[in-house]
Symmetry: D2
Subunit: 346 residues, 4 copies
């Protein structure tokens, strides 16, 4: 039986990726699309300025877009995906949660709340237990689950794989694609022949979300991972795919090959949109990989890539990459939605 | 009286920058241009495919290009600038040195040799004393002085400014412009909508050259600076200007403002091509600076920029930037040439 | 004696070019800067997000910005430059004209009005006679003079030079830089690895303005040039510099060399910001020129370039190029301002 | 039964597209791969620097690459695709033809020969009759069929559709992607923030090939189409997808809607790799389409797009677009190969 899903904020950059990823999904069926008041009542084709490389699915194109309020979403909808601006989500998500909806949200609000699971299925599926705590705390019938920021999710799988060697410190520098800022976020005059060494709010997100994702859950409370993360975030003239240079200090001294093997061996999950292997690792015969354009679409944009692993005096350095609007946004929420179904929360 | 200078490898990307920078120089006068055998005998206009934004100076355009051998360079030439490929320089520079020429070289060969000064005038002018050692060792009448790699020179002034707080460790990630690889070094298909997380040989250069530049000289021997440098080098779709994200561990704990002040106060030198202030520092009201396109041309491309200074648990993080083919290559050699004249070596 | 000038709309992309070009101008002195209501009362440094590669002049940075109304501009101002959005200019320019100000405007409103001179000094300085007609018609003490659209001005000098051979028809395709749309006009996601075959309103502007510029003036009335202009306008991922491919049908059959000679010989004007030679022409030994990045800055961005001249069965084909925000916008208005002074209108 | 095919020049940019397109082809099976002498004996994975966004098919990766001589290609191969540099093809293709191989070639040599079919299946499949003439003339057992240049093929389908209105003259300007020049054809320093108004040999190709494609064949001899084609070719910073601005003079005066309808109605062919509809036409509600990045991949890169159709005084103007390395190169040869099979030549 198909799960009826809705998309809150369906016309934006991440919203369009949701549409694209849900086309031909084995179990999810789009039943509701919402956007701002001004789009309500239009067909999706009229409301969205479609800019994804694949064509807009015909049935979605003719669906009517509603306003982003519970009144405009049918009760038959089992699961909502949210890619609202965080300032809007902050206000609107609780309205849906009170009505009993389950939301898998990409919006950045509440990610660090004590009773909100911030989840990557392959990393910390057990954090879903927090939903009970959340319901107790907030009196919601629904449930709110968040995925991390695109720059966080690019790096955390590799850190999780290396944590067996005692992760102590991370110095990470990002080279982020313009799509991370939405369709109008970065103007062409800002970025052609240029780079911008600042993305508002991004560095604190990486520094805190990483430690929550890698932290423990004892059934009632979360603990942050006991490491230090320092992040420096840059925007570069790339469309999709965040590339990150990572320096890690480790308690033990694995060789580069042992580190690569740990990444390759990191277990995946059995969910419809999950890649067979979570991390594709390039050996030292391909030091110039991963590259955004060549590697962002591995496993339909859901696989992390890593490469350039080398030893330093206190640990390792390497590069990692993910498709920021797929694995780092719409695909991350989608996978969390699949996990919610799998674990019986829906 | 004008100093007669020659340029070895005058037709390449860095060679063209030499021509541009020497146009209207107060004391240097171009008296010789060399290139590969196949260009010998042509005018410079014919031999060089001129691609700098300013027009080729008329008198240089009509000069005859010689082969890169001492026979093709007049004895009246007092100083040679070299931007030869290192494999060529390795073979040819010694021929000129034996003939008594003084060379200020941008080529990477011999940079780490014990008896070759690797110099940035504002940082370690005293290393020029090594020339005596060099002459003793090698029996040359001439002298060889090197400037560091473009990615090294972007960062070292900021490290020198912060060393008063006890520099212990550096984790640096570069976002380097394509011009650093020469005119044909990076194809358009490699870099449009992309980034490349590897530049052959670049990381070891940064890791060793930095410590030589910051090291001491006791009048007869160099010592390397007692710190660790870990570098991760990336190519991005920018024409000129290397941007670098730096994490430094310091023995003391300066505030970001103290660090900025230390950079601003770092002394310059009184040489014709030197900027009045070595490092332009952006405050925390302009976190999105420095940017390659907006800041690479400060002080005609000879000034370093820094910004985004913030505290971390073990020190600081910040960004720095320099024009890689001016301050990082041709301008670096030129400034070393001016220093050689100032200090009486020519 | 310095002429006191004001800039209406001083904080935008073209406004910033005005500031840059007026720095060190021999006869013009900036005495007033206006912007939108929300910027009024701020210093220029605060009001403008300065993005030109050269640094903001210190004295201008500290000037107070006024609102764009006659009340906020001193009576001592002799000449106003306008780079307002056309919808604003439409409303505001008449207010200044009634108060007696002389305006050299880059805004597109009123360009095709029968009694408004649309002028390029080298092409149709005699059209300034229309000011008398304008004053009679409108009862203004002031005077309004317009310069053409950036894509028009790139092509018209070459057409003017070829008109001696009987210009009959023009099919022109443009490759326009993103700066023509202002700082936020083209997003990075729209244009990286892409091109856009449409610029709203641009084609009719080229098709009509060209014929007005090349038309005659009998002392009381203008006549449009008797030719057909068909334009197709495209946006490409270039920062500055519009490149255009032109096919012209001519009554006579000049050889490519005769056409090049006609362009080279086209007379310039003796005004402070005018280039010595209006059109720089590349011969058939440099078929790959002009190029935006290499040629847009000729004569400080005020010179037109042309190249690739070849015969077709009905005339010629060639390419031309101009710096769109200098020769095509701020520099065009500035030159018209200099012409107004030279001809005694101020 | 599968047709055994070989690829001459399998490691280059177009060669890699052949591999990609032949993966999972319903009737063709790769049986031979050739490259230069230096690659012979290596596996394809070793010999090719794979740069297509999809991953290299596993079975192809392990195939041994041969030298480009008949000796290195098995007799079981029924059909060869050639993407050799034209200087190599000129010498090597006849060797294979003498041995009886049938070649569908993308190389530019011999395209305009009187007895070589230059074919787009949807446009002039009947020209295949020339193979008989070719065999008579040259004494070959094999057969040579060519597809046109990528910039030609982008435009010709639209011209063919409009020819019913009496095509008289074409003025076309191209905005071509860098991939058209091969992996190393355009350096990043040449094209970032730039455009190049010249592509060697491209304009004559468009001007002559178009008229051959649109010409007649009476069973023994070809006649060129009776129209004039003037082309101006430009390179822009786009990876894939040639965009072209076309002005056509027509004997009749169709409305834009009639022209669009003629393009939409132009018949396709029933071959495995052919799109259902040859030309996708955008209406005047989407004037900013087609765009290279958004439209190059329609029908897996095999569909032409057109838009922006407007009337001019002597006909029409419009834009068209095709994926230059798929529909304009590898896909064009592949489709011709499918036509050869369909028509019984193999």
């Amino acid at each position: 039986m198909a799960v009826q899903v809705g998309i809150l904020g369906a016309t934006g950059a991440v919203g369009q990726r949701f549409i694209q990823l849900l086309d031909d999904h084995p179990t999810f069926e789009i039943a509701a699309l919402t956007a701002s008041e001004s789009s309500a009542g239009k067909t999706y084709r009229e409301a969205a300025k479609w800019r994804v490389e694949t064509q807009i699915p015909d049935d979605v194109a003719e669906m009517e877009v509603g306003a982003t309020t519970p009144d405009d979403v049918s009760d038959d909808v089992d699961l909502l995906f949210s890619s609202l601006p965080s300032s809007v989500a902050e206000e609107v998500e609780p309205q849906f949660l009170e009505e009993g909806y389950v939301i898998s949200s990409n919006s950045s609000n509440d990610r660090m709340a004590d009773d909100v699971p911030l989840t990557i299925p392959e990393i910390n599926a057990d954090h879903l237990g927090l939903i009970e705590v959340q319901r107790d705390n907030r009196g919601w019938d629904g449930a709110l689950i968040k995925n991390p920021n695109c720059s966080t999710i690019t790096m955390v799988p590799t850190l999780a794989a290396l944590d067996q060697f005692g992760l102590e410190r991370v110095d990470v520098t990002t080279l982020q694609a313009v799509s991370g800022a939405g369709y109008s976020g970065v103007t062409s005059m800002e970025i052609i022949d240029n780079a911008i060494p600042h993305i508002g709010g991004e560095e604190p997100k990486m520094e805190t979300e990483s430690r929550k994702l890698l932290g423990g859950f004892d059934g009632s409370e979360l603990s942050m991972h006991d490491s230090t993360v320092n992040a420096s975030c840059n925007r570069i003239p790339t469309l999709d795919g965040h590339l990150e240079s990572v320096f890690v200090d480790l308690a033990e001294e694995p060789s580069p090959e042992e580190a690569r093997e740990a990444m390759r061996a990191f277990p995946g999950v059995d969910l419809p949109s999950a890649p067979d292997q979570l991390i594709h690792v390039f050996g030292d015969d391909e030091p110039e990989r991963p590259q955004p354009r060549l590697d962002r679409s591995r496993a339909d944009g859901m696989q992390i890539s890593a490469g350039g692993v080398q030893s330093t005096s206190s640990g390792l350095k390497y590069n990692c990459l993910a498709h920021n609007t797929i694995r780092g946004a719409a695909g991350a929420s989608l996978l969390n939605g699949e996990l919610l179904v799998e674990e019986g929360w829906i």
